[in-house]
Symmetry: D2
Subunit: 349 residues, 4 copies
Amino acid sequence: MFFASDNSSPAHPKVFEALAKANEGYASGYGADDVTKSAAQKIRDLFEAPEAAVYFVPTGSSANALALSIMVEPWQTVFCHQNAHIEEDECGAPEFYIGGGKLALVEGEHAKMSPDALRKSIEFTGRAGVHNMQRGAVSITNVTENGTVYSVAEVTALTAVARDYNLPVHMDGARFANAIVSTGATPAEMTWRAGVDILSFGGTKNGLMGVEAVVIFNPEKAWEFELRRKRGGHLFSKHRYLSAQMDVYLDDNLWLDLATNANAMAAKLSEGIQQIEGASLLHPTDANCVFARFPRSGHQAAHKAGAMYYLWPFNQSLEGAPEEALAARLVCSWSTTDENVETFLAHLR
Amino acid sequence: MFFASDNSSPAHPKVFEALAKANEGYASGYGADDVTKSAAQKIRDLFEAPEAAVYFVPTGSSANALALSIMVEPWQTVFCHQNAHIEEDECGAPEFYIGGGKLALVEGEHAKMSPDALRKSIEFTGRAGVHNMQRGAVSITNVTENGTVYSVAEVTALTAVARDYNLPVHMDGARFANAIVSTGATPAEMTWRAGVDILSFGGTKNGLMGVEAVVIFNPEKAWEFELRRKRGGHLFSKHRYLSAQMDVYLDDNLWLDLATNANAMAAKLSEGIQQIEGASLLHPTDANCVFARFPRSGHQAAHKAGAMYYLWPFNQSLEGAPEEALAARLVCSWSTTDENVETFLAHLR
Amino acid sequence: MFFASDNSSPAHPKVFEALAKANEGYASGYGADDVTKSAAQKIRDLFEAPEAAVYFVPTGSSANALALSIMVEPWQTVFCHQNAHIEEDECGAPEFYIGGGKLALVEGEHAKMSPDALRKSIEFTGRAGVHNMQRGAVSITNVTENGTVYSVAEVTALTAVARDYNLPVHMDGARFANAIVSTGATPAEMTWRAGVDILSFGGTKNGLMGVEAVVIFNPEKAWEFELRRKRGGHLFSKHRYLSAQMDVYLDDNLWLDLATNANAMAAKLSEGIQQIEGASLLHPTDANCVFARFPRSGHQAAHKAGAMYYLWPFNQSLEGAPEEALAARLVCSWSTTDENVETFLAHLR
Amino acid sequence: MFFASDNSSPAHPKVFEALAKANEGYASGYGADDVTKSAAQKIRDLFEAPEAAVYFVPTGSSANALALSIMVEPWQTVFCHQNAHIEEDECGAPEFYIGGGKLALVEGEHAKMSPDALRKSIEFTGRAGVHNMQRGAVSITNVTENGTVYSVAEVTALTAVARDYNLPVHMDGARFANAIVSTGATPAEMTWRAGVDILSFGGTKNGLMGVEAVVIFNPEKAWEFELRRKRGGHLFSKHRYLSAQMDVYLDDNLWLDLATNANAMAAKLSEGIQQIEGASLLHPTDANCVFARFPRSGHQAAHKAGAMYYLWPFNQSLEGAPEEALAARLVCSWSTTDENVETFLAHLR
């Protein structure tokens, strides 16, 4: 009953097989190896983007920060939701890699920016010439930090606003697989066809050990990305061990199968919780994260049984919080089982 | 016959066993797991440094740059050899993490700083009050970029100079294991007992997939390091996969065994080359890297046979270079075999 | 009828006299001259702060950014009002000098932070350990960007919140003189006695050509400030020309006399506008800035007569805006005359 | 007898007249005033560069650092002489504004880079792909820090090397007027016609209070410069006081007249010193700075008589240094008189 985070899950066994295979013999370093070429090509094929530049980095923060650093200048603003991971959970990595920069926090329910709020924020930023930070880029998180998913139409509505101001668009897809499973869109439809310029394509939260791809659909700044990656200490010498994870991830729809399980388990969990008296959802369960309020007695029983999850928001305490505030974030992953969910629900009841 | 770099070697099989073991079940993220605690404790024990703060990062550049960033201010200078890895091979990672900074390039034969040259450089830097960059820290690379090794006495002579100016000392130990095998010193003798404040303790080049430890002997700035690591995108969520590599590395002297093989193979290779007519060493072979000049015919035969290595310096070309300039960098690793060396030597002859 | 900004005013004649006097003969550069010593001492005396470190810089942005850069680390947050000058009008200078950093935008009416909103913002920032930006410092603008003034009690209420979290406090006093005149507080009462650690003490907007003092009440980081000032390109070689302005500013209460006129003219203007039918204030007129809404016909008459001022907010246009939105920012200075105000009011009526 | 620095001289009386005239009435801030337009146009005319973007900043360090920041990326290298002001006297301002960056130190006699040494340094920097810092720009200081002057032919020889690698060229012309007087070249010949892309055009050392112009011959990055200037805190609100200095400087050849006196006084001083027994020049006296070695007795007599100058290099002491090392830097300015020089020489003898 481990619902603390999808990054607490183990890696999928196939990842180990792939690593073992990649480990045979010598290989050139820094990405000049065959498995890196293979994995990058699979991503280009998957996204129907033969020109895309594809790079592998070890963490979601490095993917996001490096991506943003080639999209905005130090005196520019990134427009994102006020609960975006880049704002709340990266200790200023974007500002560090951008060399200054500012994040303008856009409002919207369930961690989804509304196009109107985005437009208002962009308008506000650009109003005073040289005295203001300038408009830089838009960053969309999909799946959001509240577990909701933007549809392709919703993404397109945001990128349309960005285009009105000639701003490039980044998508933080740490849980991109879950968003694809949730919407049924193709990777191309969710990204470049919807107006996304650079995607952080997550693997770590969905069954890999630790690798994310940065997919740059217009490769004009690819070399700059390579230099920034090196300079950030993110260019792996034994690069094959990053690439091999991503390579197997894309074989036989593994990435989708893993996300399908995570989403299905969250749906089951969400439905179960809603049937409990006094329980309710904070946000729709669109993907693999459930945000729900339920009675203190349920929390106590679950904790006693060893269930692991965060109260929500993070700084709550089970004992001190008033009954009406007792909410939880419950994250399912590729390895969550029906039994995990059922046992947990049994304790809650 | 792969002598291009030690980072072209595969990872040792025991690393895979350790990863598979670490993969069982769920684990808290971001380093709050048991294997991280275990590996850190093993390092504290190994270095006889019970107070040391120990952190794991994925690359040598991130280890060095993060370490230096808590040692110097943006307006300070790092004193290092002009051929140091931090100067030549990290695309400005130290300057990026420091937020400016400057590297003062100290002279010395075979990539080893001489104490006098170090003192001269420090004296020169601090001469003009507010107008100059200020004195910051000293960084010693051991094994050096020319394959030579500082003895404990040599390290101590450099740290004594640093102490005269109250400067902290960093050691870039990407090949620390090879230096320990070469000198017979204990890890404590080579570091904090010799006046080193922070060590980048390498694993990647010596048989791991990709992990380095930063060992901070005085843990006063440990929290700052954690924040900088996070902000740099180097805090792994599934942290156990970094730590498990380092954990097994320190079991049963594996780290020393691997380096012992690498050094022994380099010694054998070095001796063999010196017996070839017209061949000579550029630098003493103290550890696992051989820098040698040998006839063009030898190069041609080796290349024809598929041997992989870099001409030295990097920008040479086999055909264009004059006979007297034809040198090679040959790096041995844990996986280099007697047969590799013998076959290679046979081609050279 | 020039109400666009107090920085559109000329410099006071006494400033020229002082510069001419300072120009006699040779003087050591970089602040090692007598007039710099004199001006710094006058500030220490004025603030009853014999230990304070005092530095002169040419602009308000450099004063604020340099001050903040010695108060917060690159991974920390500055808490300020959402309309603070450091947020809206410095093109990211604080983030540039801090080397990253983030400004957390605190709410409150009339550009004044409320202690509760400040506490809420600080609480929110510090909630998630290494993953978040950390709490850094509080910055209070007095006079605010809406022309309101914090009383000493209001400042103290904010610094008390800061002290609860051990955060240092900066005051942006670009219009400090106007705040002192408005409140009748002494400089010491408004700053260190109220819990302010560093003050940007403005001169440019109040009759000087271009100089601001940074007053660091606890001089522990004075040397760091000097290095950052140099590194920012703000250490003047012919330093006497900065200092002489500030030196004469503090003679015979010139700085207060100038602000007294500016505040008095604004009060008169404010009263006059309020008597116009359909006119109203947006914010209280506490100092030298009037924010008022008045009929389109008044705007048109004023513009026709050559009055200079900004519609408010900045991105309004006189013709396009609806009647109810037609507001103006009107700034008075040391050189505004009764006649200026009366003529302007006559046009508005 | 004040030969410590040209920045110890007073400002020329005409500068005060111009400031007083510029002080009449109100003026728009931030450079949108008439005197700024006038001064910028005079520079464009003087340099025969009708398209050039011209900006005014208060210090030489801000001019150089801002200029370089629009020429190189954070991962690139500026090639300059090892004694360049940007290397030795700006406390890392270039690295701060560039956001990292590295200065590669080129050799050459009398603080002048030799084309061969420049080429060698550029070649060395670019040798290893993504692992190295990349080639960025060349910066030429004219007058050099040793008082020597590059001829137009010498500048052209350096820019030709830069062009071979597509590198832009910056000229640090803190003493540009002295270089022009020394060579007889026109401003255009010395800059864009010789391959210079951006010039820091000094005023402060040559009789102004504190202003330098940045002349950007290709204005493509003018807007970026404006944003960086603002962000650096160098955009003056009461901008007319910067511009008025530069405006009068260019009237009636004032700038050349002032430099002509400085150079003539240095020539006279240099000749006089060479006639003293045991005296000799360290560097040719091409402009307004004399670097000479002369007997201890001369130093003692001069000091006793109150002469002000620096021993050279800076960290010498008159008593401790051996006789053969006793050298001085003697800087003449617009205000140095025949009598100053003669009296000083009399003491030396």
